[in-house]
Subunit: 321 residues, 2 copies
């Protein structure tokens, strides 16, 4: 960045999830030669996620809404956009390779959006983006964390020497599909006993409803009942035990410096991290259990991560000039 | 290296295992500005591994034997030594932190050996060294492999962007202690159902002997019986299934570009890799099963890795001048 670009850029960020697209515009500033996000978003927008290629139209509409909310100076400084997308993403190729929830199959995202938004566009994976945000912007400052995002599903991103592990074809981080209960519940992926069949926010609510016959608003509602309802307590304990079993494997393979739990379920705070830490300490035999911490950015992690992806792309563009 | 050191160095390499120390002297040559090992070892030596700090004496004796076998020119070019050691190793601090098999507890390895061998000494983990050798010297040229070493125990090293993941405190790679059979056999680590209780070379021989009442020479002997002995076939299938279960987790978390199976059991070749690949393909639901390949260096991977550690240390020394 140094030298070439003296005007601090504004970036547009889009977190494309299974139910909605969260969009925000962020101001950036130079910190030495590095670009950093500046505080709160300048503008925010939200759209339901449409199925199929119409997702691109929804992103363009959200971008127009964001731009309309900016002042002239800010609008003139819009320099890049970042899109964090669920499902399988080909980051280098700029394509959404596969998403069951959005009915996407090998859709070029970057080429049409670059043209329609009029600025360079960078693509990333939603969980990877959220993990990046927790790591770089969140108040946690830990070495090489394993950042877990627990919502409808479970995914994770592992940092090594400050960089996320993306894996062959960008397919790393499928922590929700680690088998923790062999022969257990069927998973939509086709397997059985995957972590997310027991410990995702969706699974916690679903299993509680099955066992108790009582409808709940979600996993945090199940947590709220654990003090007085033994079924809720058991479901919560099963979920946190399963998370610990999965994390035990992560500790053996990767020995992360810390485990960070975020996403919707992360809002449970110490009721989640404390139980998982206790189960993990009980089970760990090889090595030492790392601290289990709450993520700090909540449901905004994805859109902040999308903004970071845009900033990184700008940075790379400048460096390659 | 460029410029400073024009004489190609000879390095001494020591692979310190639970039962023996394998030692070798290797010639190196410049390939552009990089140092590379040159072919076959100039000399080899072997010592039983003593318990406790006497391991250092055994290394010094092995070094003397190697030097005695070199000619004057080669002896004059000995420029560094590399030690690959089992157990927990503090690579940066140059200490053996913990090894049950060798009865080592926080032993300074690098300081006394540097003095006694008269050349710079670098320390590494035995499995890490073997993985490094397979990755850099072995005939396999794959991106970001997960290299598994299967012998008395099971450990692994995962490469990301060409560099091994070491983890917090150098404790990554304990693939043998991933739980694949919850509530299963007791593991010396204190856990139950760890991969190495079912799939290590030691476990395969032990379980066969238990079930059949027939003593065997080792896991490869069990493999040799699988054609005619249903108990042997079952034990082999259990072991390769368990390996696939563990690797399924690795694929979900890391999406390696290939899986490489080495160590003593790796000598089984396609009888091992083929079965593991088949079990893995059957089980994988998220992502694509990477190729499962045989390591190519066999039991010499560790000592070659120790030589690479010595070369890398020389390279770093030169670059920091």
């Amino acid at each position: 960045v140094s030298g070439h670009q003296v005007v601090p850029p504004v970036v547009l960020a889009f977190d494309v999830g299974g139910t909605s697209i969260k969009a925000a515009a962020f101001d950036a500033a130079f910190d030495g030669s590095d670009l950093q996000l500046r505080g709160e978003p300048l503008a925010e927008a939200r759209r339901p996620s449409p199925q199929g290629p119409a997702v691109l139209d929804a992103i363009v509409e959200a971008a127009e809404e964001l731009r309309a909310a900016l002042d002239d100076d800010q609008r003139g400084r819009v320099a890049a956009a970042g899109v964090a997308m669920l499902g399988l993403v080909d980051v280098a190729g700029g394509r959404a390779r596969h998403s069951v929830n959005l009915d996407l199959h090998d859709l070029d995202v970057v080429t049409p959006l670059t043209e329609r938004l009029g600025v360079p566009v960078a693509l990333g994976h939603d969980v990877g983006a959220a993990g990046l945000a927790e790591y770089r912007v969140g108040s946690l400052r830990v070495d090489d964390p394993f950042v877990v995002v627990i919502g409808t599903g479970i995914a994770a991103v592992s940092f090594v020497d400050g960089r996320p592990i993306t894996g062959s074809g960008g397919q790393a981080g499928e922590f929700g599909h680690v088998v923790v209960r062999p022969g257990g519940r069927e998973c939509p992926c086709g397997g059985r006993g995957c972590l997310e069949t027991v410990a995702s926010a969706g699974a916690i609510a679903r299993i509680y409803e099955e066992r108790s016959g009582t409808p709940v608003a979600g996993a945090l509602d199940v947590l709220a009942r654990t003090g007085s309802d033994p079924v809720a307590a058991e479901v919560w304990d099963d979920a946190t035990s399963a998370l610990a079993d999965g994390l035990l494997t992560v500790c053996a393979l990767l020995a992360p410096g810390a485990i960070v739990l975020g996403g919707g379920l992360g809002e449970a705070g110490v009721a989640l991290t404390g139980r998982v830490q206790a189960h993990l300490k009980e089970r760990i035999h090889v090595g030492v259990a790392p601290p289990v911490l709450s993520a700090t950015l909540g449901s905004r992690a994805g859109v902040i991560g999308a903004a970071l992806i845009a900033l990184d792309a700008l940075d790379n563009l400048e460096r390659s000039r």
